[in-house]
Amino acid sequence: MSPIQRLVDAFHRLPGIGPKSAQRLAYHVLRAPVEEARDLAEALLHVKESIVLCARCQNVTDRSPCRICADTSRERTVICVVEEPLDVVAIDRTGGYRGLYHVLHGVVSPSDGIGPEDLKIEELLRRLRDVDTEVTEIIVATNPNLQGEATSMYLARLLRPLGLKVTRLARGLPAGADLEYADDVTLGRAMEYRQEV
C-alpha cells in the first residue's frame, strides 16, 4: 500500500470522517511543513502513552489522582456520576458545579450487550465505602434517554441503602426550544418541575 493511501485509510477510520474528508486531510498533511506533521504524530503517540484512568474518578488523565480529584478547593461531599469523560468537560464548563466526578465509561444498554457489570460501578461503590469518604450526595447525570434512566435507577437502588442522597439532573425544555415540537415526556417533566419566576 502506498504511504499516502495508508494515511488516507488511517484518517478514514476516525469517527465522522468520510472518504473525501480523509483524502483532504491526508493531502493537507502532505503539503504541510514537516514540523507540523511531526507535531501531529508525536501528539497522537503521547496521548496514547501518557493517558491513564484516575484511580478515584476513573476519568482519563495524565496523572492519578487527576487534577479535579486532587483539587482541595472542590467540595468533597458530592459526586456527579457521568457516562463519558466528555460529560465531565461539559459539566465543568458550566462553572456551576464544584464537586467531584465519577465516570462510568458507558451506560446500561442490554441490546448492545452492556450490563451494569461492564461499567465502573464497583469502583464507585469502593470510593463510597472508603472510611475517609465525606460524600453525602450523588448526582446522577446520565443522559435523559432510556439507557440513561435505567442506569440512574439502577444506581439509586444500590446507593440509597448506603444512606446517600441520590439526585438526578432536572429534565425540561432546552434553551431556544419550541413548545410545539416538545415530546410529552419532556413537556410533562418541565411542567412538573416548573419554577417561580
Binding site: 442490554p110 435507577m153 444500590l158
Partner: protein, 281 residues
C-alpha cells in the same frame, strides 16, 4: 408518472432500539403494523435542540413521516402518541419493557408484515405501564409472541407420539420447543424433566385469555422457575442470548439487596432504641 411509489409515507410505529450514526444522527429500528420492522435514519437527534429526539426513545409509540431514501428512509416528522412515561419511573418495569422490545426485535424480520406482533407489543407495554404484574405480562407476551412468529411451543401432547402428556411426568426440550412423554423422552439429548407445576402454569398462560391467566397466583420462587424455563426457550428460539434478561435479573438482585440492607438498618435501629429503653429502666 403513473406507478411511481410515493416519496413519503406516514405510519404508526413503536421504537425498538437505536444505534449511533456519525456525529449527531441515529439509525432507529421501528416496528410498524403494516411494513414490519424497518431501520430509518433520524438526523441530528443527538443535538440538544433536536425536535425529533424526544419522540424517538425506545418503547415510545408514535406517528412518523418517512421520506424514502436510497438505502434507508429518513424521519422527517415524529410525534409521540404514547410515551408510557410510568415505565421510566420504575426500574423493574423499565427493565421488563427493555426485554419485551429486545424480543420483538430478535423475533421479527425486516419488511415482513407483523401486525400481530405490533398489537401484542403495544398491549403488553400498556399493561406494564398501568402497573400489571411484571411476571404475568412478560410470560404471556413471550408465549403469544412465539405463537405470532410461528414458534408456538408444544406444551400439551408429546412431540414424538402425539399422546397427551401428564404434567407431572413430562420432559422438556427447549431446543425443539416442546414436551415428551416419559416413554418417548428416553435418552434424547437436550431433554430433561420439567417441574409439573411450572408446566401447568405455562399451559394456562398459553391457552387462557390474559385476564384469566392474570388471576393465577404464584410464589416468587415458582415465578423464578417459570422465568428460567422461558428465558432458556427464548434463547433457543432467537438463537442468541437475550441480553435484557440478565438486566431484569440484575435489577431484581439490586432491589433484594437494598431491601435486605434496609431491613438490617431498621433492625439495628430497633435494637438501639430497645437498648436505650432498657438502660432507662
Amino acid at each position: 408518472m403513473a406507478g411511481r411509489p410515493p416519496r413519503v409515507t406516514k405510519t404508526e410505529a413503536i421504537v425498538l432500539r437505536y444505534r449511533r450514526l456519525g456525529d449527531a444522527d441515529r439509525i432507529v429500528t421501528l416496528l410498524t403494523p403494516h411494513r414490519g420492522k424497518v431501520d430509518v435514519v433520524a438526523k441530528g437527534v443527538l443535538r440538544a435542540r433536536s425536535k425529533l429526539a424526544g419522540h424517538l426513545e425506545p418503547g415510545t409509540r408514535l406517528e412518523v413521516v418517512l421520506a424514502h431514501g436510497r438505502s434507508m428512509d429518513v424521519v422527517t416528522q415524529a410525534q409521540s402518541v404514547e410515551a408510557f412515561a410510568t415505565l421510566r419511573a420504575d426500574l423493574d418495569r423499565l427493565s421488563a419493557a427493555m426485554y419485551l422490545l429486545e424480543l420483538a426485535d430478535r423475533l421479527t424480520v425486516e419488511h415482513a408484515e407483523s401486525g400481530a406482533v405490533y398489537r401484542l407489543l403495544h398491549a403488553s407495554l400498556t399493561r406494564l405501564a398501568r402497573g400489571d404484574g411484571q411476571q404475568i405480562v412478560t410470560r404471556t407476551y413471550e408465549l403469544a409472541l412465539l405463537d405470532a412468529t410461528g414458534f408456538r411451543p408444544e406444551l400439551v401432547v408429546c412431540l414424538q407420539c402425539g399422546e397427551a402428556v401428564d404434567a407431572s411426568r413430562a420432559s422438556w426440550s427447549p431446543l425443539e420447543g416442546g414436551i415428551y412423554c416419559a416413554e418417548c423422552a428416553g435418552r434424547r439429548p437436550g431433554v430433561s424433566p420439567i417441574d409439573g407445576t411450572v408446566l401447568k402454569v405455562l399451559r394456562a398462560y398459553q391457552s387462557q385469555p390474559y385476564e384469566e391467566a392474570g388471576r393465577i397466583r404464584l410464589s416468587d420462587e415458582l415465578a423464578a422457575r417459570i422465568e428460567s424455563v422461558m428465558h432458556t426457550l427464548m434463547h433457543a428460539v432467537a438463537e442468541r442470548e437475550i441480553r435484557s434478561a440478565s438486566f431484569v435479573s440484575a435489577a431484581r438482585r439490586a432491589r433484594v439487596r437494598g431491601e435486605a440492607h434496609e431491613a438490617e438498618a431498621e433492625a439495628r435501629a430497633v435494637e438501639a432504641v430497645e437498648a436505650v429503653e432498657a438502660a432507662e429502666e
